[in-house]
Symmetry: D2
């Protein structure tokens, strides 16, 4: 597992402030559980409000957690004055998103000046047992001020 050196020593403050500014994360009840350079775990409690027709969490909501996890992981390695945007991601849905709690774990695979490539996995937890429910790979872009 590669370990990364953050360009911005103050990365933690910048990243958590940006995360806090995402109203979607508050609405979905997603919070940061762990944050390291190039790595993040997010967590979310089950809520019936975000389910599909079988009572499982909607794939788009799982994707919102995975995408934010990728963004946060990538953002820890960017310069302090960069903004970040998602270029693309693919989600593979591997099992029903059925559980009491969900974890979104992302890590940077290859950081770059402009583009950063990340992987993330979503797990559902129930009765202390975790199930892999989805996998994402995505490309994030650093936007530098002119």
């Amino acid at each position: 597992m590669p370990r990364f050196e953050p360009k911005n020593p103050n990365y933690r403050a910048v990243v958590t402030a940006t995360f806090a500014a995402q109203q979607a994360m508050r609405t979905l009840g997603i919070s940061i559980a762990r944050l390291e350079p190039g790595e993040v775990d997010l967590t979310m409690a089950y809520s019936a409000e975000f389910t599909q027709q079988n009572g499982f969490v909607h794939a788009g909501i799982i994707t919102a957690g995975l995408d934010t996890a990728c963004g946060i992981a990538a953002f820890t390695l960017m310069p302090g004055d960069a903004d970040i945007l998602t270029v693309e991601f693919k989600t593979n849905l591997l099992a029903p998103a059925k559980g009491k709690r969900f974890f979104f774990r992302a890590n940077v695979v290859r950081p770059g000046r402009t583009l950063t490539f990340c992987e993330a996995r979503a797990f559902a937890e129930e009765d202390g047992r975790e199930t892999l429910v989805a996998s994402m790979t995505g490309t994030l872009m650093a936007m530098m001020p002119r």
Copy 2:
């Protein structure tokens, strides 16, 4: 543009009931604007509750709309007793999701007995002008009762 013949003459009732059973769609304020065999338009008003750090709609929420649009489009062509699940999708984010209203337009490209391949696009509308903000391709799977 290919036109498709639904296997289930009653597809409209089955599909709208399944959509209505998705609490996530209600929570996100997404509704069906147009429904034809293999084609659907969904619509969603802007809400600050689902934004990222720049006040644009979060990529995961855009993806929730696109994924549901693909699912609905695919589901119109499935047998009446099938359930549906998403296998995978890729979203490419093409412009900030900035607007008063959003549209998610999906169509089936290739239906299959087990797997159906769909495309969808998300548009942001503001002052009567639409901007393409995201594109999805995805694979949906029909689950038949044993």
Copy 3:
């Protein structure tokens, strides 16, 4: 279908020279059948040398045609001194790549200064009938000289 204005009036010469410099295209027997700003059709004859275990053309070879088609389509809209590289693509395989001749048709969906988003489709032709065998969406990047 959006039409695009090339930044480089001499785009045709640059693009065809770059294509001609791809030894992989010569080895695979792929050539340009049509070239317009933001659009290209490539064509390839069937060759048993590039087949998988059932005698169909290998998905990787189909992808090579689709990727090059996306690259060429994107490259027509880039400045004359740019180089191009592929960031990512997804291929969905929709039918066996079985035919006498294959076509790879790509078009730019959204050009950008740095990133361009393209779509492409692969068709197999046999007895004058075309079958859609694969679909790609991809992101291409312009590399400018320092």
Copy 4:
């Protein structure tokens, strides 16, 4: 790293025979370097015949190696009478495919009765040093005889 139990005790013979039947692999000079249940390493020597305009191996050829690696890894876990096809894959290109030798390493993440999800990475080797050049995630499908 999960370890898997093959359904077919004779998986090695079936898989290597299927690989040997892929003329594309012979033409590209790709061979099996390691084969375990749910895991495979393929290897390929550099050949100028499969390069793009800068002399690097073409992204489609890298994808052919990655796709075959995913297919082989998935196939080791399928029943002896199954055939296999690729549903979809996404390739992220992470560095120029520049090297004397290439490795394509795939492993099954989640096997299924119908669909199997795999990951693969491509590495370029030069002077004893390996560079990650591409990453793939893909979905493979088991086709059972009627």
